[in-house]
């Protein structure tokens, strides 16, 4: 076990898979020099020019090349620097990568990963701060991972690379400096398995990536006032571990889903709908969501912080539910 930052866990996950499988190749902007978030630092030096490719600023070419290579025997890992830039290549992602296995009647396999820096909270302003997992979640054919800690990042990235399906890995950029214990040995976290980080009988808090930390902080605070929360880290949205959600809601009867994307439509809305449809009679209170505000994220710190979900909002929501 080593203490690694979330950033270095990306490097550890990529290196682990590049070491074991020579079909794993990296492509993206600035990768040879380590990437703007330093998430590929040292990999060019370690694996050489055949394995690590710097691309032009050509965001259709990046996933396009990954797709063509994946269909013909490689296992590429592409980087789209900021998830916001998916808007420039959504055709390749949503129309081509997501659909080609299906459209071809199963003739094509697309074992590829696209990584990107996602999410807000560190002043990157509105075009470099969005939480966009929900864009991918409405397109059948894409798997979605969004790790909340360094160990999961290494393990989910490894699982994504080994998957024969295309996986979008959303790395929360505010978490890059956060450190945590990461297994030194081969480490894989299966896609589709939520993690229970804390068990309590009063409420289920459901988070993803950075909002998992909000949930655990809120749970610690609530414990001080005698409210025991279960914290569930979904880890992947597709496949979705709906059973973990339903099982926990059956135990607690209350649920707060904490998501960073704008509340007007996020992944939490889909999870809430599953609970409403399938666990209605387990509920002691309405299914609730604490989410980002439905505005483009502003730049000024005083504005941005107010627009993102917070520990206080989660605590307030839980207290409201318990008081019902």
């Amino acid at each position: 076990m080593a203490e690694l930052s979330y950033r270095d866990a990306v490097i550890a996950g990529l290196a682990q898979e590049m070491e074991r499988d020579e079909r794993v190749v990296l492509l993206g902007e600035d990768l040879v020099s380590g990437g703007v978030f330093k998430t590929t630092k040292g990999l060019y030096e370690q694996f050489g020019p055949q394995r690590v490719w710097t691309t032009p600023i050509s965001e259709q070419a990046i996933p396009g090349c990954a797709m063509g290579a994946a269909m013909t025997g490689l296992r590429p890992v592409a980087e789209i620097m900021f998830s916001d830039f998916y808007a420039t290549c959504w055709d390749i992602i949503a129309n081509e990568i997501a659909k080609s296995r299906y459209m071809s009647g199963g003739q094509f396999s697309l074992p590829l990963v696209v990584r990107s820096a996602n999410g807000g909270g560190i002043g990157f302003a509105t075009q470099h701060s969005q939480s966009l997992e929900n864009w991918a979640m409405c397109v059948p054919g894409l798997k979605i991972a969004a790790p909340s800690n360094p160990a999961d990042l290494k393990g989910l990235l490894a699982a994504a690379i080994r998957s024969d399906d295309p996986v979008l890995v959303f790395e929360h950029k505010a978490l890059y400096p956060v450190k945590g214990d990461v297994p030194d040995d081969e480490h894989i976290v299966p896609l589709g398995a939520a993690a229970v980080l804390r068990r309590g009988i009063d409420v289920t808090l459901i988070g993803l990536a950075r909002t998992v930390g909000l949930c655990t902080d809120a749970a610690a605070e609530l414990a001080g006032s005698g409210i025991e929360a279960t914290v569930l880290d979904l880890r992947t949205l597709i496949p979705l571990d709906a059973q973990a959600v339903l099982t926990s809601v059956a135990d607690t009867g209350r649920v707060v889903i904490v998501e960073e994307n704008p509340k007007q439509l996020g992944w939490g809305a889909g999870v809430a709908a599953i609970i409403a449809e399938e666990a209605f009679y387990d509920l002691d209170a309405p299914v609730t969501r604490v989410a980002g505000a439905s505005v483009p994220l502003p730049f000024a710190q005083s504005l941005e912080e107010e627009m993102l979900p917070s520990v206080d909002e989660v605590v307030d929501m839980v207290q409201k539910l318990v008081a019902m």
């Binding site: 032009p56 090349c65 797709m67 013909t72 199963g106 074992p111």
Partner: protein
């Protein structure tokens, strides 16, 4: 650099060299074009008889390009094409009954009926898909070529696209990265003069929409008469050999004409009658047949080739029309690698 003059000179030399006995290769090339033509005419008829749903985009008049490049490729090579892609799939040897079956939405189709006319694919024949979003497949084709290079093979990728594609961003991203990474890919523009319902020259800043842009990316470009199958084959052989030997990408702009409308809903009446009439006199199949006759081919033998192609197509459609529609359960397969469609537990 545009080498149009060189290309036509080469083609002329080739034609001269071919004076003399007509070979089985020549007849095979004719047969391929005749199969394509008969196939698409049969599609058109099926549409007219209301036996076919969805859009279809025919390449009638453009067969020489797919046939010429098809004849220059080896089984290990790869092809990607557009929603006007029936000819390219036939060119790589996909079975006609499976192509017809896919277009008719049958279980026996190449893609089990999930793709349709615009999304034909035959991985077994190196055909990595027809793409219905203009420009999308150029970066994907670069990936196929990149993979061939990384895997240490000498496989060549041919990416067919239309003139309309040259004004979308993906075209420019693909040409640049192909040149920078020196990929073994041939970009083949089938310039049929129209992008959908509009003459391409009216919305394009340069005369040759593909070839004139190639120099911007350091790519060598060739312009060829896309209705002259002999010229296309010659250019294709040279280009494939160059790409195979590691010379990097090349762009070929083949000038042709879409004899019909953009899709089945389009009569193409925005074109002047005399323009259409003039291009009909340059029909690639008529021209090649005449060239073979001039070289001494027996007209009776050529008639036999034509009759055989027609019979093959008829048999393929008879088989396809007789095939079952896919079971509805099939709609829930092949979303994921495990064969299923489950997104949650």
């Amino acid at each position: 650099m545009t080498r149009s003059k060189t290309a036509s000179a080469d083609a002329a030399a080739e034609a001269e060299a071919q004076e003399g006995e007509v070979t089985s290769g020549d007849l095979s090339l004719l047969a391929t074009m005749l199969r394509m033509r008969a196939f698409e005419q049969r599609i058109y008829d099926a549409f007219s008889e209301n036996k076919l749903r969805g859009p279809t985009h025919l390449g009638i008049g453009q067969e020489a390009i797919a046939a010429g490049f098809g004849a220059a490729l080896e089984p290990k090579d790869s092809v990607l094409s557009t929603y006007r892609g029936h000819d390219h799939v036939i060119a790589v040897g996909a079975p006609l009954d499976q192509v017809a079956g896919e277009i008719l939405g049958r279980a026996t189709g190449l893609c089990g009926g999930k793709g349709g006319s615009m999304h034909l694919a035959s991985a077994h024949h190196g055909h990595y898909g027809c793409y219905a979003i203009v420009g999308a497949h150029l970066p994907i084709a670069c990936g196929v070529a990149w993979s061939a290079k990384l895997r240490g093979t000498d496989e060549v990728t041919v990416c067919f696209f239309g003139d309309g594609t040259t004004n979308i961003g993906a075209f420019h991203e693909a040409l640049n990265i192909a040149a920078v990474w020196k990929l073994p890919i041939l970009f083949v523009c089938e310039n049929n003069l129209y992008m959908e319902y509009t003459r391409t020259s009216e919305v394009t800043a340069v005369e040759r929409p593909a070839a004139d842009r190639a120099a911007s990316y350091g790519l060598e470009a060739l312009v060829v008469d896309g209705n002259d199958v002999t010229a296309v084959l010659e250019v294709a052989r040279d280009a494939v050999a160059a790409a195979r030997s590691g010379n990097g990408p090349l762009l070929i702009e083949a000038i042709t004409y879409r004899q019909g409308g953009h899709s089945r809903a389009d009569p193409g009446d925005y074109r002047k009658e005399d323009e259409v009439a003039e291009w009909l006199t340059k029909d690639p199949i008529t021209a090649y047949r005449k060239a073979l006759e001039d070289r001494g081919a027996d007209p009776g033998e050529l008639d036999d080739v034509q009759a055989k192609a027609g019979a093959e197509v008829e048999a393929a459609f008879e088989s396809a029309f007789g095939a079952p529609f896919p079971d509805v359960l099939q709609a829930h397969t092949d979303v994921w690698a495990d064969g299923g469609s489950a997104w949650r537990n």
